[in-house]
């Protein structure tokens, strides 16, 4: 396990925990018991405090593959918004738009031709700590 302590742009501490055997990265904002967690995408899990909307950790399954550039740039991943309970939809969207999650994920949408609605997408940003972290592999 590789652990790197760093600081967010807000000045708050953050810890990166990378498991090279499983290629799993967990970004820990605060280590405590979560009261909710959801699958943001098939490979990204968010744990948070339900009462305060405080993100506690963000996990990336297959991290090195997730950040590997594709032919046309950074890969985008479909948000599993349809699978979030109705009463969490607004709360999760608000968290994604705010620090610290917006330092790591950028949210967008894709509107296929003749589609009835947009497909929500997420792309993994490359914060300063990532290159240092990846280069240690």
């Amino acid at each position: 396990m590789i652990e790197i302590a760093s600081t967010l742009s807000t000045g708050k501490p953050v810890r990166y925990e990378y498991d090279p055997e499983g290629d799993l990265l967990e970004i820990v904002f605060r280590q405590t018991e979560a009261t909710a967690a959801i699958e943001l995408t098939e490979s990204i899990i968010l744990r948070f405090d339900l009462a305060t909307s405080e993100p506690l950790s963000l996990s990336f399954i297959g991290f090195l593959r997730l950040i590997k550039p594709a032919k046309y740039g950074a890969p985008h991943f479909r948000l599993l918004a349809d699978e979030w309970p109705d009463d969490l939809q607004g709360q999760v969207s608000a968290m994604l738009d705010a620090a610290p999650l917006n330092e790591f994920l950028q949210i967008g949408s894709y509107i296929p031709r003749r589609a009835r609605r947009a497909i929500p997408l997420a792309v993994v940003k490359q914060p300063q700590a990532f290159p240092q972290f990846v280069s240690s592999q």
Binding site: E17, E21, L24, Q31, T35, E39, S43, I61, G62, E83
Partner: protein, 110 residues
């Protein structure tokens, strides 16, 4: 160091080491009392290959004993190969981590 070995629905042998379990519950303390539920998720859960890592699979299963609103467990399993003492390739499938999660529907959990 202890380890627990189970078979999934298609009889693939998968193990969880005590070291990994301790790491799981240190990082995700909401699962501390749910070792049996995590192992049951591997035994009976719906298995889905990770879209970007063909050697990683997610197992999902509803779990009613978690504190609401958690209603399911998700386990990530690595499927690897290793050579035995005779140089033959053998499966080396192990739990990477697990989460309690909140899902709208249970259909995906199998």
């Amino acid at each position: 160091m202890r380890r627990w070995t189970v078979q999934d629905r298609e009889e693939r042998e998968i193990y969880l080491t005590e070291e990994r379990w301790e790491h799981i519950v240190t990082g995700h303390p909401e699962l501390r009392e749910h070792l049996d539920d995590v192992l049951l998720t591997v035994r009976q859960g719906h298995r889905q290959q990770q879209p970007h890592d063909p050697q990683a699979y997610v197992y999902r299963k509803p779990c009613s004993s978690l504190r609401p609103p958690f209603n399911s467990i998700l386990v990530v399993v690595a499927f690897r190969l290793q050579t035995d003492s005779d140089g033959r390739w053998q499966p080396n499938n192990f739990v990477i981590t697990a989460w309690g999660i909140v899902m709208r529907r249970h259909e995906r959990s199998g």
